[in-house]
């Protein structure tokens, strides 16, 4: 049930959302909406995140103790929940990044010859 009607946008791969959230929080604590915006912005709006799916992912990460949630005051003086990386989360981010790079490299390796054949 996605609303993937805009051309040039890519739906997220299963499981990569966790990695993106961890990476985004590396810069500092953020609230939910800001995380969604950051991911969209930093990917030049290519990655399409159904914003709702952020919440199960956030809660999953909290449960695994990779991030923590704190009450705080947002920029427009409203109460909001801020999510921050834990030490364990930092370690996990390194592991996941590493894994992702290997995967991306491997897939690129496989795809390359086919791409070169076309002029």
């Amino acid at each position: 049930m996605s609303t993937n009607e805009e051309q040039g946008r890519i739906e997220l791969l299963q499981g990569t959302l966790d990695l993106l959230i961890l990476r985004t929080l590396q810069l500092g604590p953020l609230h939910g909406h800001a995380i969604a915006k950051a991911i969209e912005f930093r990917s030049d709006e290519v990655l399409q995140v159904e914003q709702g799916s952020l919440y199960p992912a956030l809660h999953r990460l909290i449960k695994r103790k990779w991030i923590s949630a704190e009450e705080g005051i947002s920029e427009n003086n409203r109460h909001a929940k801020f999510y921050a990386l834990t030490t364990q989360g930092r370690r996990q981010l390194r592991v996941e990044t590493n894994k992702w790079e290997k995967l991306a490299a491997a897939i690129a390796q496989i795809l390359r010859p086919a791409g070169q054949e076309e002029p």
């Binding site: 049930m1 609303t3 939910g32 909406h33 969604a36 915006k37 159904e50 914003q51 709702g52 799916s53 919440y55 199960p56 809660h59 999953r60 909290i62 449960k63 949630a69 409203r78 909001a80 929940k81």
Partner: protein, 879 residues
């Protein structure tokens, strides 16, 4: 859990907050407030689903959902009481019968022995393999041990706190008792200590009573023996009783409820050293190469079965060294009734056949419930479509529907199991107390235990999948839009598939039912034959008595003396027309067989034989059709034999059998002097197997049947026969029965099995006709519009009826045919109870299918008739 609660409490707030921010962003980008709100909602996705998924992160989701499903399912089932009750009853019937029969098999083969700390007691059996030539004497069971082997294992192991050995099923006659043969046990003297069953009165055996052969003439009585034969008199302790002519001092009475470790209760226990006195003829105690003692060991605490195995194999290897080329392998199991490999080899296939037959009934019940659920699924189409379109995943819905099935089958399973546990206990009591007289009483404890509980639970769960999975998958695969619109005709875009499902269901139901009915039919035919069969000889008007004189302390000379006097007296009795002696009475379940060779033929031919006196043939009415009868001068070793007609035809086709000769396994040569007519003397229903008669001589007098043909009443003859015997030997134990009574032993098993399968067949038929009825009325309901169109276009009512009938009978016919083929393939297993009718009895195979098809057409016709009364106007308007 508190973290979870805090996190979830604010979830709703967080989401609202998130959407507000997004909306604000959109407004900032220049959208109208309304537009902005829509865009943000669209971008966020399905709020309800996000919430649910987030909850799932924190919950033990499946458990919570399960509880939710259970609650929903209960409500749903409560709303449909008629369907629920029908389904629960069908399942209760199917599961209950299976649990019941399982509890019987459990009592026979799975339950531990009824002794203290039975889980520690192991039964040890051995298998001997010989390289080259080697032989072993076997008494009762080839897995048993010799006395010396037992003592080796007992004295040289570190794993048992005690090892007992015993010879089961020792036949004995109690002097002065009013019972025929009783069965007892010859046991090692630590028997009661190892089993931890100390006598409730008196004492068990002392070690000195087993010190050497012939020591310890003492006996422990079973509680029921003590009550029935000695009026529960405590003063019996210290008194002598006479068993098989030897006096034993009663030293104890076993605790009530302890009947030994074999399925047939033991009436007494004597030290194993008394074996020769109890069963004269063979000195088993001294024979190191004789398998005759069962062995039970009680494990020391903390010892594993592997350690036991390793330890006992050391002893086994040492024993093997005394016999060149012999290898012993041991099988060690927790002791149960029927724990020897030999018994299990028989029990496992038999139980599998029985369980399979019962499972078939459950299968039919499942098909019925599935039918009901499929019918209901079409009613629930709208609800399910709505839930699917609100974002419920298909898996989630399937899970919910399966939960409903599980509820149904658990309810049915519990109900069925309760009824089964109650009724099978009583049923078993009824059957075991109504077995024919010479059936030994079997002690089966069919009360439910953990095994039965687990089996019932497993069965209920499997059942719920069996009938629930297909309807669940089927009903969640619907076309949303048309279902929502209520267009039931279009919603069945899978209509062909749906109809195929239904047809397959009914077809398989009919097939299974056909198998069961055919089996029941075959068995009933077998039973009828057994009840009415003409065995080919005159079985009526003959009294018979089996005298094991050697057991009663006679040697051969005295036995011959006794027999001569006895037969003389019998001949003189008024009303007695003929007296004969035979090694085996006809149909007495006593068989003797040997291997013979013919000149010029390399193969061994197995032939059953009997030793008979000359009067035997005229007494039971088997004429000598060629050659001559024996003369009274011909004794046991005389070379002349009489063969039956079919044996003669088979061995010497196209030749004159008279004067032909054959050699038995001990190289004696026999000449054929006569040919007797075929008769079913050894197996009921079998008259043409190889059979020959030897003359009977004094050697046979120690153990033979005496047959008496009488012209008066049986009661008088039985009485005067006993008087005649007692006038020679007042202490002789003698039992006189009708020769006809032997038929009962052949009929009883087939009566029980036929009764059982008949009941199963009737139940299957009932369930199956309900199934067919349900299927037809459901499909008539579904095709009301189609029928309406046909009628509107001018079809007459009869042709509509024909159409519906044909549509419905087709799966019945196909299923029935498959059932007939299936049964024809497997009915061979029943042949032993068919008494020569054959496993493909044409009468059964014609009559039963016609009967089933008749019932099925009736079940089809009733609902199909409704199709004729469809009003085309109403049918077409209602949608």
């Amino acid at each position: 859990m508190t973290r979870r609660k805090r996190m979830l409490d604010q979830l709703e707030e967080d989401i609202r907050d998130h959407i507000e921010r997004e909306t604000q962003d959109n407004i900032d980008r220049g959208m109208s407030p309304e537009e902005a709100r829509f865009a943000s909602l669209r971008k966020f996705g399905n709020v309800a689903r996000v919430k649910e998924q987030t909850y799932e992160v924190w919950s033990i989701a499946w458990l919570e959902q399960f509880v939710q499903d259970v609650r929903y399912g209960t409500r749903n089932l409560g709303r449909n009481p008629s369907l629920t009750i029908a389904a629960v009853l069908a399942i209760a019937l199917g599961v209950g019968m299976n649990v019941g029969i399982f509890s019987v098999l459990n009592g026979l083969a799975l339950r531990l022995l009824p002794i203290p700390r039975a889980q520690e007691v192991l039964s040890v059996n051995q298998t001997l393999r010989f390289q080259g030539r080697g032989n072993r004497d076997i008494h009762n069971n080839e897995g048993y041990f010799s006395w010396s082997e037992y003592r080796d294992y007992r004295d040289h192991n570190d794993v048992f706190s005690g090892v007992a050995a015993y010879e089961p099923y020792v036949e004995a006659t109690l002097a002065g008792g009013n019972v025929g043969q009783i069965l007892g046990t010859a046991a090692s003297c630590n028997y009661f200590d190892v089993l931890e069953e100390s006598p409730s009165l008196g004492r068990g055996f002392a070690a000195t009573e087993c010190s050497s052969a012939g020591t310890g003439p003492v006996v422990v009585l079973s509680d029921s023996m003590w009550r029935t034969q000695f009026r529960a008199d405590p003063a019996v302790i210290g008194k002598p009783i006479v068993l098989n002519r030897t006096a034993y001092t009663v030293i104890g009475v076993a605790p009530p409820g302890f009947t030994g470790t074999e399925p047939i209760p033991s009436a007494f226990w004597v030290p194993v050293t008394m074996d020769k006195a109890l069963e004269p003829g063979e000195d088993r105690l001294a024979n190191d190469n004789m398998s005759w003692l069962a062995m039970l060991g009680r494990k020391r605490s903390g010892v594993t079965i592997h350690q036991v195995e390793a330890d006992l194999y050391v002893v086994a290897r040492r024993i093997d060294q005394h016999y060149s080329g012999r290898t012993t392998s041991l099988s060690i199991h927790t002791a149960r009734f029927f724990s020897s490999p030999e018994e299990r080899k028989f029990l496992i296939p038999v139980s599998s056949v029985i369980l399979a037959a019962f499972a078939l009934v459950l299968l039919i019940a499942c098909a019925n419930v599935m039918n009901l659920l499929l019918a209901r699924a079409s009613v629930r189409q709208k609800e399910i479509a709505l839930r699917l379109s609100l974002g419920a995943s298909r898996g989630r819905l399937v899970r919910q529907l399966l939960t409903e099935s599980l509820l149904l089958s658990l309810a049915g399973g519990i109900l069925g199991s309760l009824i089964a546990c109650w009724s099978f206990v009583r049923l078993t009591q009824f059957i075991t107390s109504h077995l024919p007289g010479d059936f030994p009483p079997v002690s089966i404890n069919v009360a439910p235990d953990l095994h039965v509980l687990i089996y019932a639970l497993l069965l209920a769960v499997c059942t719920s999948f069996a009938f629930g999975l297909v309807p669940a998958l089927q009903s969640t695969r619907s076309d949303l839009i048309s279902s929502m619109k209520g267009d039931s005709a279009a919603a069945t875009s899978g209509k062909r598939r749906g109809r195929f499902m239904l047809n397959a269901l009914v077809g398989s139901q009919v097939a299974v039912c056909m198998v069961l009915l055919l089996a029941a039919g075959l068995l009933l035919r077998g039973l009828y034959y057994a009840q009415t069969a003409d065995p080919g000889f005159e079985i009526k008007g003959v009294a018979t008595t089996f005298l094991e004189l050697d057991q009663q302390g006679y040697d051969q000379q005295r036995a011959t003396q006794f027999m001569n006097g006895f037969v003389e007296r019998l001949r003189g009795l008024p009303g007695v027309t003929e007296v004969a002696q035979a090694e085996c009475a006809p149909l007495s379940h006593d068989f003797s067989a040997d291997h013979f060779t013919l000149p010029g033929r390399p193969d061994d031919i197995p032939i059953e034989y009997n030793h008979v006196t000359p009067s035997y043939f005229s007494l039971i009415g088997i004429p000598i059709v060629r050659g001559r009868n024996f003369t009274s001068a011909e004794a046991h070793d005389a070379s002349g034999v009489i063969v039956t007609e079919s044996t003669a035809r088979r061995l010497w086709p196209g030749q004159d059998p008279l004067g032909q000769w054959l050699r038995d396994s001990s190289e004696h040569v026999h000449t054929v002097i006569g040919v007797a007519r075929d008769a079913q003397v050894s197996h009921l229903g079998e008259s043409t197997s190889n059979y020959l008669y030897y003359p009977l001589g004094p050697e046979d007098d120690t153990r033979s049947f005496v047959l008496v043909r009488y012209a008066t009443g049986f009661g008088d003859v039985a009485k005067s026969t006993r008087t005649a015997a007692h006038s020679i030997d007042p202490n002789l134990s003698i039992e006189v029965v009708r020769l006809e009574d032997y038929l009962e032993a052949w009929r009883a098993p087939s009566r029980i099995v036929a009764g059982l399968s008949g009941t199963l067949g009737v139940l299957a038929l009932l369930l199956c006709s309900i199934g067919v009825y349900g299927m037809v009325s459901y499909s008539v309901n579904r095709s009301v519009r189609e029928i309406g169109i046909r009628l509107a276009l001018g079809a007459d009512k009869a042709s509509v009826l024909r159409h519906v009938l044909w549509q419905s009978m087709r799966p019945v016919l196909i299923g029935g045919t498959i059932g007939v083929l299936l049964c024809a393939m497997v009915s061979g297993v029943l042949s032993s109870m068919m008494f020569g009718i054959g496993a493909h009895d044409p009468v059964t195979f014609v009559f039963v299918p016609f009967f089933l098809f008749g019932i099925a057409s009736a079940a089809t016709f009733v609902p199909a008739r409704r199709a004729m009364y469809v009003d085309p106007v109403v049918a077409l308007r209602c949608e």
